[in-house]
């Protein structure tokens, strides 16, 4: 083949790609559901995550049963009352608070026993308090237990060092000093929005082309499958990045989430995540060619894992081993972890790079399988 026809071919390919991408762009602009998903859904999700879903415990109602009347016990009780994490209902008998715990008015109670002061004096028996929590709400229960422990150790440390504490116990939470859940939920919401756009929208639009018979028509033209698919993905890639942008700006301005890392890192991570997300959508539509089934599959295999198994809502470290193993093939896992870092900590490329590589690798697998399936044309 001589140089001019080779150039001519390249030119034709570019023109076809451009025309197909333009067509896709026009369709997005005229399709209310795509616009809704790209621009309204991020806002709705962010608002929900910022206000409705809260994993924070503030002013948790607990009972405080003071069985001892000693000065030490009263001092400890004052320490409990002083923390803003608890709102304390005082009592002298546990029978007073038990019904309140049963009825759900209290989330737990702390018993300072009669022998509290005596034990504190003796070196052999360290002082003992009892914490009863409502196990039907495990998160809150853990929180109550943990914080009660914290209050106690803090108070003991202060006791030992005398009236003027030489070494104060002051916990400090890095990256999210207020321990506000929206600071890590909002970045996670971005991952979910991107999974929706990448996987659900892509799966739907490709399946739609099969359903309406337009795929057959464009496949009969000189455009190759690779061109058709690339042109399909480019606009959705752009749409995904636009949605990221909207989410990030909203997070920073309206929800007070800092972006400590750089925009460059944010966009690199988002771009890397869109590769497996789009690949998954493409694979689903190539396998089903039916919009309804494609939507179901996309929700099941794209949205739900991004929601539940990515670490967005539930910490991966506390999942059972089997689920933990599964999270390694959920691309959102790598994305959520990196997003939280880029928003709350900064650019930590030593974490980003392996995550980006993992997302790209999963994406390549999806694309490979999708290409193999689509290549079989209409069979």
């Amino acid at each position: 083949m001589n140089a001019t026809t080779a150039a001519g071919r390249g030119n034709g390919r570019a023109r076809r790609l451009l025309a197909l991408s333009r067509k896709e762009g026009l369709q997005i602009l005229r399709d209310p559901s795509a616009m809704l998903m790209a621009f309204v859904l991020p806002i709705v999700l962010l608002v929900l995550y910022a206000y409705a879903v809260s994993l924070d415990a503030r002013e948790v109602r607990i009972g405080l049963v003071l069985e001892s009347d000693s000065a030490a016990a009263r001092d400890l009780a004052a320490a409990f009352a002083a923390t803003r994490y608890f709102r304390v209902t005082p009592a002298h008998d546990r029978r007073q608070v038990e019904p309140l715990l049963v009825s759900g008015e209290l989330r737990g109670f702390v018993v300072i026993p009669q022998d509290f002061a005596r034990r504190k004096m003796s070196r052999a028996h360290p002082p003992l308090i009892q914490v009863i929590t409502d196990g039907s709400q495990p998160n809150t229960a853990n929180f109550v237990a943990g914080y009660a422990q914290g209050v106690l150790s803090g108070w003991l440390a202060a006791e030992r060092s005398g009236a003027l504490p030489a070494a104060d116990f002051e916990p400090r939470y890095w990256f999210n000093p207020e321990l506000e859940s929206r600071r890590f939920l909002v970045p996670a919401a971005i991952a979910i929005v991107m999974a929706m756009i990448g996987t659900l929208l892509t799966a739907l639009v490709v399946a739609r082309e099969w359903e309406r018979g337009t795929m057959e028509a464009i496949m009969s033209t000189p455009a190759s499958v690779l061109e058709i698919m690339t042109a399909k993905l480019l606009p959705y890639f752009a749409l995904g990045l636009i949605a990221t942008c909207i989410c990030a700006v909203l997070s920073i301005t309206a929800f007070d989430v800092p972006l400590r890392g750089s925009w460059a890192a944010l966009f690199s991570l988002s771009s890397a995540f869109l590769v497996p997300a789009l690949g998954q959508g493409l694979l689903i539509s190539a396998a089903t060619r039916n919009q309804f089934v494609a939507a179901q599959l996309a929700l099941l295999s794209g949205f739900l894992p991004a929601f539940l198994l990515s670490g967005a809502l539930f910490e991966i470290d506390s999942m059972p081993a089997v689920l933990r193993a599964i999270t390694y093939v959920v691309p959102a896992r790598y994305f959520v972890a990196s997003l939280q870092t880029v928003f709350l900590a900064g650019d930590v490329w030593s974490q980003f790079l392996p995550n980006i590589l993992a997302m790209l690798a999963i994406g390549l697998v999806f694309f490979g399988v999708a290409a193999a399936r689509t290549r079989k044309t209409l069979d």
Partner: protein, 576 residues
């Protein structure tokens, strides 16, 4: 010159052989019709020619290129229009053209000349900014053709381009294709309309993946010379006479044709029995010129019997009112667009009444108002004497409705569909079970009960849809393009049920684009531009447009002529 050649072509999908050892040639510069019943392999063959599929065995060569080894070459010289035209409905006409121009490598300097040429050719120039989804069926088809013609293909493949398209648009498309073959393009046109096949330069007739006939259509028609007859002069009971005639040995096919009955006899069959039968009904048997359709049905082994098990089991229906359906000054406006304008007619009890018109003439709107799916803006519609506005429930209990797409639930089994529709019409308990069993027996649905309607063969799907519509034994049955895209054999079976129902006193209201089906009707109402422009028996309509040069016009010619006349009258009013 040969444009396309098939040699020993085999293509299977799973266990089904869609094409089974096909060897044929398609000539350049000519129009080749691809005909055959549903499932014959027409679409598969077109996709093979478009290099969208690869043969399992044998070869397909398109303009000398093998589809297996050189699909890219073929994609650049073949224009292909799939069944739904391959248009993007959310793109404007011009945007669709631009897309296909870029895909087909129409060079950057020339596209506007090309667009002008195609827009002029298809008459779409005034609509370039309109979204493809808002075009009428005929205009979509022309746009699909324009897209397929982008880049001046040497070969044009059209997959059922005329399904759901009215005779006027079909004729225009036909003229365009004629012009293209004149330029040397090989056009392959697959169709379920045998009158179209008859006008092709040559036809490939497929049945169950095998080639039954290849050659000039006239030669096939000549094979049955002297075997086509009409029984004319029958005053009443044409339909029961047809059913009796089809029972006779040696009768291969029979249909209603206006006031006559058209019959095709087997080779060597005598006419004595038929003469006697005709005379018994006061009619006479006359030889008729054979049609391609006669030869087609004969080649495929004759049509199924005209007895309808359904009608035989069904008790005669009672209808108190004198007119089954009637409308007075029926009008429907959408915004400032009038879809149905002051339409008045009566459908007599036990009549087959056809509602015809070009796409967009307002027949669907009228039809929907008559079966209570749409409220009229003005005027009155009655079914079985009940006003649809004041007593919709009573009226709807007396009508059955079968939609174009059959409206079956694909996620339910055949039995569950029957249960659902019988439940909707208020049947319960033993009566419901009995009716369902009756329908299963009548339509022979027994072996399909647990399968999804989507996987049924077309003929059975149609039976199921009819069973669902008849579950409550309605005296009036509405059929909305019930046979669109359906092949002649399956349509014969369908009409045998309809004819049987009519004999039991059921009134049929039907819309169709098939002109032969229009002739099955007792009376035909023709709509154009929202108005009723003609209403009479098919024979009277034909006679009304007879002229010196066309003493015996066909139904299609009558249809087109009546619309032209109405268009001229409209033009004169506009001018005045």
């Amino acid at each position: 010159m040969t444009a396309i050649e098939f040699r020993g072509l085999v293509k299977a999908f799973g266990a089904v052989r869609a094409l089974d050892g096909l060897t044929a040639d398609i000539a350049a510069g000519s129009l080749t019709g691809l005909v055959g019943p549903d499932g014959a392999g027409k679409t598969t063959l077109l996709r093979l020619m478009a290099a969208l599929l690869k043969p399992d065995r044998g070869t397909v060569r398109v303009a000398g290129n093998d589809v297996t080894t050189d699909p890219d070459r073929i994609h650049s010289i073949v224009g292909y229009m799939p069944q739904r035209f391959g248009l993007y409905e959310d793109l404007a006409v011009i945007e669709n053209l631009e897309l296909y121009a870029a895909l087909r490598g129409v060079t950057a300097e020339a596209p506007h000349d090309t667009f002008d040429r195609l827009l002029r050719f298809t008459g779409l120039a005034p609509f370039t900014r309109r979204l493809a989804g808002q075009l009428s069926g005929g205009m979509k088809q022309k746009l699909g053709l324009a897209c397929a013609l982008m880049g001046r293909p040497a070969i044009l493949l059209l997959d059922e381009p005329s399904v759901g398209v009215d005779p006027v648009s079909r004729r225009e498309l036909w003229a365009m294709v004629g012009e293209l073959t004149g330029e040397g393009i090989a056009v392959v046109w697959s169709t379920a309309y045998l009158d179209e096949a008859e006008q092709c330069d040559s036809v490939l007739l497929l049945n169950a993946g095998r080639l039954e006939y290849a050659g000039v259509p006239g030669a096939l028609t000549r094979r049955i010379e002297g075997r086509s007859f009409l029984i004319a002069g029958v005053e009443r009971e044409r339909r029961s006479l047809l059913a009796d005639a089809r029972e006779l040995a040696g009768v291969r096919d029979g249909v209603i044709q206006g006031e006559s009955i058209r019959l095709v006899l087997a080779e060597d069959a005598g006419t004595h029995a038929l003469d006697a039968l005709a005379a018994g009904h006061g009619g006479r048997l006359e030889p008729a010129a054979p049609r391609f359709e006669d030869a087609f049905i004969d080649l495929l082994g004759g049509s199924p019997g005209a007895r309808s098990a359904l009608a035989e089991r069904m008790p005669p229906v009672e209808l108190a009112a004198e007119s089954a359906v009637s409308c007075r000054n029926l009008t429907r406006r959408f915004g400032d667009f009038t879809a149905t304008d002051d339409v008045t007619f009566d459908v007599r009890k036990g009549e087959v009444f056809g509602l015809l018109g070009p796409n967009g003439a307002g027949k669907s709107t009228t039809f929907k108002m008559l079966c209570g799916l749409l409220e009229p803006t003005a005027g009155v519609a009655r079914v079985a004497g009940f006003d649809l506005r004041h007593a919709p429930a009573e009226a709807k209990l007396r009508l059955g409705y079968m939609a174009q797409k059959f409206s079956l639930y694909g996620l339910l089994s055949v039995r569950q569909n029957l249960e659902f529709f019988s439940g909707v019409y208020g049947l319960t308990g033993a009566a419901q079970r009995e009716r369902i069993d009756e329908m299963i027996g009548t339509f022979d649905l027994g072996r399909y009960l647990s399968t999804s309607p989507d996987t049924l063969p077309l003929g059975f799907k149609q039976r199921l849809a009819l069973a669902c519509a008849l579950m409550h034994r309605p005296p009036v049955l509405f059929l909305d393009e019930p046979t669109s895209g359906v092949d002649p054999i399956t349509r014969r079976e369908f009409w045998s049920h309809i004819n049987g129902l009519v004999q039991k006193g059921v009134t049929i209201m039907v819309t169709t684009h098939f002109m032969d089906e229009a002739e099955y009707c007792d009376r035909v109402a023709l709509m154009y531009r929202a108005k009723l422009i003609a209403l009479d028996s098919p024979d009277a309509l034909k006679a009304s447009v007879a002229s010196e040069e066309r003493p015996e016009p066909t139904m299609e010619e009558a249809f087109i002529r009546l619309i032209e006349l109405a268009g001229e009258a409209h033009g004169e009013r506009e001018a005045a």
